[in-house]
Amino acid sequence: MRNPHTVRLDGPDGSLMITHRISDLDFTNIENGGFGSGSFTLQKPIARQQLDTYAEVLIFDGRNGNQVSGGRILTPGRSSDDQGQVANVSFLGEGPAAMGAVERPWFYIDQTLDMWALSTRSTQRVTGDIGVYPSAPNDIQSLLFNTREGVTIDVGTNLIMTNRLATLTGQNIGGFGSRHKEGFGPNANWRVRHRVYTAGMGTFDQVGDEQWDGGAMSGRTVYRVGTDWTNPRTVAAVMWIRNNTTIVATEGQWAVVNDPIIRAQLYDAAGNLRTGSTYANEYVLAGEAFTDWCVQNCPTFDMAHANITPGTYHFDQLSWPDGIDGMKLLEELLEMEKSLMWGVFEKRPNGKYRTALVERTTEVRYELSVEDGYDESGPADELCNVVYVTWTSPGGKPQVTRVPTSGVAPVPALDARGGAVQSKVLALGTEVGSTAQATQRGQEYLDGHVAVPNGGTVTINGNRRIFDHYTGRRVAPWEIEPGYVGRIAGLSPRPDTLNPDGSPDGSTRARIVSMNWNDVRSTAQLQLDAYPVDQYHLIADLIKKRR
């Protein structure tokens, strides 16, 4: 009754079954990532080209043909010693590998003034700036157009300010809008116009053309690709212009554009650019951002057949002109959308990998027990009932948001100690944030630290079969999918979200964060209720194993 796994190596010259040439097979599947990583030792050296960069390994369950692990081969270590000539091969799952492989400037939604700049020259008569308009509440910054008192403004005098973020990142603009306010008007010959240009400022579509009305701040109009313009445009521009008649400038002849929003044009899962009403939303959903990133940057993911959940949190600022990689992007998205998890799994016959971004569920999926071993080396996480989130406003000013705004969050263990405070300072991940984002981040952190987790590691012998409620199957331990909840019999829980009453029935519910299978031990180790393993931990693990 040998372990039924088989191992296949795919390289540029074809594929090879190497099951009988390897030893010490070890693989780990993870909650956020899918197939995580693994390693093995090749006892019989094979032709060098099989271990080329971008060679791939796939691990199957020989009983039913499913792929249970696999990934891209990392450059193998080699040794020649009393064990013979061996290559120590480690691999990183396609999900973490492809996500981490692409690092580039990128954005989805930008509501800051950071990327705005003058495109035409300020003169003696009209100037453009980023500044404060008269009586601006809270010193909010705006794109400011000023005239010099007493000079004559000729017909055709204009000033343009542009935002080239989309040009820098290589994306198109999907939506563009702002508010505007003027100190002078109503006047039909002073206009404020919204335009979208190509990168060289050669061609443009004028999507908005309004007169100065001199009243209160206008509402925010968002123009959208597909509805208001058709061709790809990468520069957003605001233009103030004097038409028809000259005018002598007075101190009140100023205008601002305020609260700008630029949204990147998104790809849908089928690989088509989206147009139209979706860009009227002044936010982006996690599912949209994930789909777009993967379609554009991870062509090996089978997005056309992927299972994507849109998510509910409204991201109102996602912009990284200095660059971001896929894993960091996901970290930021999932920090706010803690109810989602992602994974990239088996290679399909079409050559692409099954991909999913799905809701975490709280129903029990697997029935486990501590019969084969359990270990909890003492929880490391502390409790927390107040969070201070630091972030930067779109105007560039440092901000602090306290969550909850006053008092403390309810944490039973701390409340029992007469309301002791345990607080933490967190920095918001994005370069610029908003109050809503800061509050969400703080609340998510508090939700995760209201109780000491029922962590630990459960060992399952390879010969055991575990009941899977979702499929009705009795699965082998290496087939357990991380991210789902297991009920562990024989373990008394600490009260937490999954075990609200700390039930006395001697069974604990915990989320399975990772599944590690080792051929020599012939056991699976499931890590429970700890924080999800990320790519950096995976690589650190692999390096440790190779030593």
């Binding site: 039913n64 019969e371 009705g472």
Partner: protein, 473 residues
């Protein structure tokens, strides 16, 4: 039959004689202390203080050591020198040798695959006719081999056929331990994917057939926005299929096809599910299945996938499912008195996108891990270049998958194997299961797969022995 201890050039075909490289009995007397005993069993066990006893995770055989004590070395000093050199060269070869051993009074020999081995020579009297004793400890593979056993058969591409319905029952397997099988099948055209599964069940039962659930056994559910009809078609399995014709609205929240009390007493375990379906070209549907017991199929839901219509019927691979869903594990160490088994099933159909008809012919369940089974292996080969006639060689003996084109050239034909090569187990009921052609949910049209097709199968294996073999074993 006389005793034989020889180093031979290889395992000869049935009827041929082995080419002898060295004959121990010609020069020595094989004496007391000679040992060909079976190897150790290596087990990975776990234990805790939470329960008595240990649980074995996996166990495999280690290598064995053939121990030969050779006395009464014949010949003079020069003769002996030549013999010792010949033997030394053979034993020193790092690639190993074939060692033939046959017992007196038995009909069949065994072949051990040995590894590089040292010699131990004890010189007693070094005169002109020296007296030397040799002791050889030769490492060898865990089990010995017998001569190749072959056979061929034709499998019918029809799960309702009377003989060999998508499966083949193998005759009693020789040997002592599980041994890999080589299966070659010729196909008129190269398909997208082919599946081959081997299943070893305890002896004495009836050979396990694939489970075929025709659409005619399922009951169409009337609903708003669609209609069912039964269409007779001699070209399809069972001679008819059920046609779903969409008319309006968005059906799909409730099952369109349902069945209860199906597959009575189906052997419990894992099956790989293949849906036989066709539809109007490019019509798009979301299909889903629920399995459970009569009256309660919402218990287990899954296998949601999108189907794009193709006008010829094909099998679509939907992955493993347990039948009956959620049934308690059978095959424990104590006698089973579990109640009878049946399956209830719901099929959900939601038209999305381009509209058309959906024709459901049935569902094939290929056993890939039955509870009471001893061993099971499933292999799926994916062909990269389609359209070429080919012989698919699932060579479990050499551990490789080889597509051989009709011109006997491999060239740039490439195939990929998912899973494990088939194997056979002596003392068990061994069956081979085929799915000649299937597509996964992400692939479109494949080749046509008519029910009148046959699969010509050539199979072979080397029996493996622990110690000795009888005339029939």
């Amino acid at each position: 039959m006389v005793r034989l201890h020889q180093i031979v050039a290889g395992i000869p075909a049935e009827g041929d004689s082995p080419v002898v490289l060295f004959d121990f009995d010609e020069w020595f007397t094989v004496g007391v202390g000679t040992d060909f005993s079976p190897p150790e069993v290596r087990s990975s066990n776990t234990w805790t203080q939470l329960a008595d006893g240990e649980t074995t995770g996996a166990s495999t055989l280690g290598d064995r050591v053939l121990r030969l004590v050779l006395t009464q070395f014949r010949g003079n000093a020069e003769d002996q020198a030549e013999v010792l050199q010949t033997l030394g060269r053979l034993l020193d070869d790092w690639r190993g040798q074939w060692f033939l051993w046959q017992d007196e009074g038995t009909v069949h020999e065994r072949f051990f695959r040995t590894k590089r081995a040292p010699m131990s020579i004890e010189d007693h009297h070094l005169l002109e006719r020296p007296k030397r004793t040799l002791t050889l400890s030769i490492p060898a593979e865990a089990t010995a081999y017998g001569r190749l056993v072959e056979g061929s058969a034709t499998v019918n591409n029809d799960p309702t056929a009377v003989t060999n319905p998508l499966m083949l029952t193998l005759p009693a397997i020789k040997g002592d331990v599980s041994t890999p099988l080589r299966v070659r099948s010729e196909f008129a055209a190269l398909f997208v994917n082919t599946a081959l599964a081997s299943l070893a069940m305890p002896a004495g039962g009836t050979p396990t057939e694939p489970v075929w659930l025709p659409a005619s056994a399922l009951t169409p559910v009337a609903g708003a926005g669609y209609a069912w009809s039964t269409v007779a078609d001699a070209a399809e399995y069972g001679g008819s299929f059920r046609r779903y014709t969409y008319s309006s609205g968005t059906p799909g929240a409730t099952p369109a096809l349902t069945g209860a009390g199906l597959l009575a007493d189906v052997p419990a375990g894992d099956y790989r599910m293949f849906l036989r379906v066709k539809g109007s070209t490019l019509a798009e549907f979301d299909l889903g299945f629920g399995f459970g017991i009569t009256g309660n199929t919402s218990e287990v839901l899954g296998w949601d996938f999108s189907y794009v219509g193709v006008s010829t019927s094909q099998f679509i691979d939907l992955g493993p499912v347990r039948l009956p869903a959620g049934y308690p594990e059978q095959g424990s160490k104590f006698p089973d008195d579990t109640p009878g088994r049946e399956v209830a099933m719901d099929m959900y159909i939601t038209p999305t996108g381009i509209l058309g008809t959906l024709d459901v012919i049935g569902i094939l369940f290929v056993p890939v891990g039955l509870d009471t089974g001893r061993e099971s292996h499933y292999a799926a080969s994916t062909q990269v270049l389609t359209g070429y006639p080919v012989t698919m060689d699932f060579d479990g003996i050499a551990g490789r998958l080889v597509p051989i084109s009709n011109t006997d050239v491999i060239g740039t034909l490439r195939s990929f194997l998912a899973g494990d090569f088939p194997a056979v187990v002596p003392g068990a009921e061994n069956t081979l299961h085929f799915v000649r052609h299937f597509v996964s949910e992400t692939e479109g049209a494949g080749a046509s797969d008519p029910k009148t097709a046959t699969i010509g199968v050539d199979w072979s294996y080397y029996p493996r022995y622990l110690y000795i073999r009888s005339a029939t074993g």
